[in-house]
């Protein structure tokens, strides 16, 4: 409890093991089946906030145009994060076609503090396992979203 604001700074880079990116695509392909959007959460330990160590697949409802997380699952997940001293660094979801941040994405993120990242994967994640064509947005100091360069901010390791 040493800092006032959660770790996460503007322009901070996150390191993502390739295996976690491949896992992300596999989950989205299986869950979405080329017909539905899907969300996963990239989490990591707060003692090393630049490192992604796990991919979480939330309980959610989805169709071809959007998704909604289960509230009961969120409560359990919130407690689990605290008990393990880990936090969400990036929310990731798939889109049917091109990747962008929709008004719904802007309005209803899971986290809305400075430096939080939101990644959108195109074509229901049916393409190659890469960030090509992906859209990355970041929460600014005033809580607004700005597009940032996915290639510069997410380092595949």
């Amino acid at each position: 409890m040493s800092t006032l604001i959660p770790p996460g700074r503007l322009e901070e880079r996150v390191n993502l093991p390739h295996e976690r990116l491949a896992e992300t695509f596999e989950i989205m392909q299986h869950c979405g089946a080329g017909r539905r959007e899907c969300q996963v959460l990239w989490i990591g330990p707060w003692h090393s906030p630049d490192l992604i160590t796990e991919v979480i697949h939330p309980r959610h409802h989805a169709d071809g145009h959007g998704f909604s997380l289960d509230g009961g699952w969120l409560n359990t997940f919130w407690i689990d994060l605290a008990s393990r001293h880990v936090g969400i660094r990036v929310q990731v979801h798939s889109h049917p076609q091109s990747a962008f941040h929709s008004p719904t994405d802007d309005e209803f993120p899971i986290i809305r503090t400075e430096g939080f990242l939101s990644l959108v994967i195109p074509r229901f994640a049916l393409g190659p396992v890469s960030l090509e064509g992906a859209y990355l947005a970041e929460v600014q100091f005033d809580g607004s979203w700005s597009e940032v360069d996915a290639g510069k901010r997410v380092a595949i390791i």
Binding site: M1, L4, I5, P6, E37, Q39, I43, W46, P58, H65, G66, F67, S68, L69, G71, G72, L74, N75, T76, W78, I79, L81, A82, R84, H85, V86, G87, I88, Q91, H93, S102, T104, D105, E107, F108, P109, I110, I111, R112, T113, E114, V139, D142, G143, S144
Partner: protein, 89 residues
């Protein structure tokens, strides 16, 4: 009946947000709305604050117009600060 705040009226609650825990001082006569504002300030949540809510460990959403006392909160109670809805599209 006196409405003055006494030491016995104050308590420390623990707010959980994105895997982090922060202590927040509160008064038993404060509303949950006031507590929610303190909690969001502690974690730097500045936008869409109307979409945030406080939940108990057991998954009950606290009503904003309730007092902390009426909500049954006691010293050390742990509360979850999270959005009421998470969506995308």
């Amino acid at each position: 009946m006196s409405t003055a705040t006494t030491a016995a009226d104050t308590l420390t609650l623990v707010i959980v947000y994105n895997g982090l825990e922060r202590p927040v001082q509160a008064n038993t006569h404060q509303t949950i709305q006031a507590l929610l504002e303190h909690a969001m300030n502690a974690f730097g949540v500045h936008q869409n604050r109307h979409l945030m809510a406080l939940w108990t460990d057991s998954g009950v959403e606290l009503q904003l117009n309730q007092s902390i006392q009426d909500a049954g909160l006691v010293e050390g109670s742990r509360l979850l600060l999270r959005p009421s809805a998470v969506r995308g599209g």
